[in-house]
């Protein structure tokens, strides 16, 4: 009823090809963006920014990156935290060693460094597939853990191997308060979301999806697998690199190689599996699920006034979190994004379902 495109006639190709062809969708997303930029800063406390919203946004960006590779191109990677690490350390070194660079340039360069490394570790994907590739990408993870823990140059010879950053300045705007960080990260994430949406419906995205669905067929119709797979690795690592730089500078502030360990890689993978593979929206939903839910679960007993010991509360958190993951995967294997799509479909027919 609310969600029907009746009467919305497209008279030009341009109108037909826009990102969100249904008017209701368009207004909803615009309203959401406006809400995020103007209303959220008025409503939200510092705690929410620092503990939930900022990490959620940054990990969303990383999840989008991983989704481009796993969801769209069908190449599994369980080492994507490594590319975040490359982005973070590249940004740290650029800021330390070339202080006159604008941070936006640093972000892009950090992404490029991660992209190069990602393409290098993507080379095995040309010969191996599926689970074997997943294991090969583990190499990226362990190599990265090793190099940042052992090669002192990357950490500017810090005695403990931990690096720390100064507040970022862009065009005289010092991004210091949680709100400033939020606004900056939000801007970056929205820009990259738009780019991703456009990429996946352009020729590159089509090439990826063709490779994902059947690589032999894709080759027959003229898609070069080398090109498709390596661009997927490159773009995906670029996203993760940028996310890593944001994670380091705007979320952690100071970090050690352990911050980008295998657990983070798994978290990213869980995000896209739970959120929905091959869906940008799924990346958002999955990141929200993984970031916010454990923290919310941890606080529920206390908010409800149930006297649980600290240890018990955190064990309960693990149990409920684990069972919710199983529950969602059983009920909808295609992820939260699919649930959303089903909901939209139903709204379209409501109140007269077949």
């Amino acid at each position: 009823m609310f969600f029907r495109e009746n009467g919305q006639f497209k008279s030009t190709y341009r109108a037909d090809m826009q990102l969100l062809p249904i008017a209701q969708d368009r207004y909803f997303v615009l309203a959401l963006v406006a809400f995020a930029f103007f209303a959220v800063p008025l409503l939200v406390s510092d705690y929410l920014y620092l503990s939930i919203i900022n990490p959620f946004l940054i990990l969303t960006l990383a999840a989008i990156g991983l989704n481009l590779l796993v969801g769209y191109c069908g190449q599994i990677s369980i080492g994507h935290a490594a590319f975040m690490a490359w982005g973070a350390y590249a940004a740290y070194n650029l800021v330390q060693r070339v202080p006159m660079l604008n941070f936006l340039v640093v972000l892009v360069l950090a992404g490029l460094v991660a992209a190069l490394v990602g393409m290098f570790f993507g080379i095995p994907s040309l010969r191996i597939k599926g689970l074997y590739l997943a294991v090969a990408t583990l190499a990226a993870q362990f190599f990265t853990d090793w190099i940042f823990a052992r090669v002192k140059w990357f950490t500017n010879y810090s005695s403990s191997g931990s690096v720390s950053t100064a507040p970022v300045q862009i065009f005289g705007w010092t991004i210091g308060t949680p709100r400033d960080k939020y606004l900056f990260v939000l801007g970056v994430v929205i820009v990259f979301t738009l780019v991703a949406r456009n990429l996946v419906r352009g020729h590159l995205g089509r090439a990826w999806m063709a490779t994902r669905d059947m690589d032999v067929a894709a080759e027959v119709i003229g898609i070069r697998p080398v090109y498709a797979k390596l661009t997927a690795f490159g773009v995906s690592s670029f996203y993760c690199g940028v996310a890593g730089a944001l994670w380091g500078f705007f979320h952690l502030g100071s970090w050690e190689p352990l911050a980008f360990n295998l657990n983070l890689s798994f978290d990213l993978l869980f995000m896209i599996i739970i959120g929905g593979m091959g869906s940008i929206l799924g990346s958002y939903l999955g990141a929200a699920f993984i970031v916010a839910l454990p923290i919310a679960l941890n606080q529920i007993p206390e908010k409800l006034g149930v006297p649980l010991s600290t240890a018990m509360a955190s064990n309960v958190e693990f149990m409920i979190f684990g069972s919710l993951i199983v529950l969602f995967l059983v009920l909808e294997p295609h992820g939260l994004a699919r649930l959303w799509a089903i909901g939209k479909e139903k709204l379209r027919l409501w109140p007269f379902p077949h």
Binding site: Y47, Q96, S159, S164, S254, L258, S314
Partner: protein, 447 residues
């Protein structure tokens, strides 16, 4: 089926909304001093985290029950589980920092990784961090690290003291020349902290330093001990935490490396570290800097005022363990800092900034230690803006299979001639990297 997931979704949404909606709206209650308690009672490090947390909380309860708070200002506290993970630690910090009428008093994360992350935030939030025996060694320099207080000792002190001790055992520091010392360390900021000093010492005393990292959580050490078997170091320094410690001792037994040549830092010298290794741990040595195991007047008070009233946090028979005592002494620093600051700012809830003044003017004399009931459990502490550490001595203790015994005549002070220049230059580098303003301590301490 449809119903089920709708129901599940609704529950999740409600739960999320409920927990997110209310945060940070601390009730403005009068005359209470809020102590946030960052603990880890679960995960790989829980065996060590639990006794520390129990000691910490028990002491706060004792001050309330016995003295009615700090000069009449009641202590309130709230635990938050970090699991020793930096990200959750930061989340806990943000959750608790604004609670209570005057905000959090002081944070004690018991994790070097979390300390690094919180140090960053302290410059804007102005809440002191007490890191008794851990954290950044260079944070002794209060002119740069305005909010860190590594009271009682840093890892550089610990490493220096261990070198002094093995030097003495060999019959003189010059005998160290040509010897091999292996450092088996937790591959995290915690384990890496002592490396800088040991390298300096290796240059100075002419021993060879072998660095053997162990990855988190440290249950897999076969490769490490294979290397020890091949290289046969004269001494092994152990910089572990949690299960890594007991695993190392077990591996030493398996490799046949003599335990009496193994020296642990003070975080590798508690009951949970040696008990799992059984008899094999006999002869193993470790440092003890603040609280050795045992009981004193304060423990009797804790039993009388807290446990006998059914308010105890842990088990009664665990009172007096090494880590329990250390948690207790750590809590005492926070309490005494508040007491000191009350002399200047009045007997009311104090802000983090005011508590810092107290921490910079702590003067815990032997008399006071006796009054606190902690005679024999700590060194006198005297801090200032320039010196956030207050004391830099430690003793060596040996495990006899049943309990820890302090080695006679083994009280050492670290060599400030070596450490101090390192602290100053490292702190300076940090300030430059972060573009931090420094304080003029000569002026602050003079005033």
């Amino acid at each position: 089926m449809k119903r089920t997931w709708r129901g599940a979704l609704a529950v999740v949404a409600l739960a999320a909304a409920a927990s997110l909606a209310t945060s940070g709206n601390a009730l403005a209650q009068a005359n209470e001093q809020f102590f946030p308690v960052l603990v880890y009672r679960t995960g790989a490090y829980a065996p060590n985290g639990v006794p520390w947390a129990n000691g910490y909380v028990d002491y706060l309860k004792l001050v309330n029950a016995r003295d009615g708070g700090i000069n009449g200002v009641k202590i309130t506290f709230e635990e938050c589980e970090t699991g020793y993970a930096t990200d959750r630690g930061v989340e806990c910090y943000e959750r608790l920092k604004a609670k209570g009428p005057s905000g959090a008093t002081t944070f004690q994360p018991l994790s070097t990784g979390i300390t690094f992350a919180l140090t960053d935030k302290s410059f804007t939030d102005h809440i002191p961090l007490i890191t008794a025996g851990y954290g950044r060694a260079d944070s002794v320099d209060g002119s740069v690290f305005g909010w860190n207080f590594p009271i009682g000792g840093t890892y550089w002190d610990a490493a220096d003291i261990l070198v002094q001790h093995v030097g003495k055992k060999l019959g003189g520091m010059d005998k160290l020349k040509g010897k091999k010392i292996a450092l088996v360390y937790h591959d995290s900021p915690y384990g890496k902290e002592p490396i800088a000093l040991l390298q300096e010492r290796a240059k100075l005393n002419g021993f060879e330093l072998i660095l053997l990292p162990v990855t988190h959580p440290g249950v897999e050490q076969k490769a490490t001990w294979l290397q020890i078997r091949q290289q046969r170091p004269d001494f092994v320094f152990l910089w572990g935490w949690g299960v890594m410690n007991s695993t190392a001792i077990k591996e030493a037994v398996a490799t046949g490396y003599p335990r009496d040549k193994m020296y642990g830092v003070w975080w590798s010298g508690a009951e949970p570290d040696v008990l799992p290794a059984g008899d094999g741990a006999k002869g193993y040595n470790a440092l003890v800097f603040l609280a050795p195991a045992g009981k004193g007047q304060v423990h009797n008070d804790i039993v009388k005022y807290v446990y006998d009233k059914g308010q105890g946090t842990g088990k009664k028979e665990d009172i007096g363990e090494v880590l329990y005592n250390r948690g207790m002494v750590s809590a005492m620093f926070g309490v005494e800092a508040v007491r000191k600051a009350q002399e200047k700012f009045g007997k009311k809830p104090l802000t983090g900034e005011q508590v810092r003044w107290g921490l910079e003017h702590l003067d815990i004399t032997p008399d006071m230690i006796k009054k606190l009931g902690m005679a024999g459990f700590m060194e006198p502490i005297k801090t200032s803006c320039d010196n956030h550490e207050g004391a830099h001595a430690a003793m060596v203790e040996t495990w006899d299979g049943k309990k820890w015994n302090v080695v006679p005549n083994s009280r050492y002070e670290s060599d400030l001639k070596i450490i101090d220049p390192m602290i100053r230059s490292s702190a300076k580098k940090y300030a430059e990297e972060k573009k931090l303003p420094t304080r003029d301590c000569a002026k602050e301490d003079g005033a």
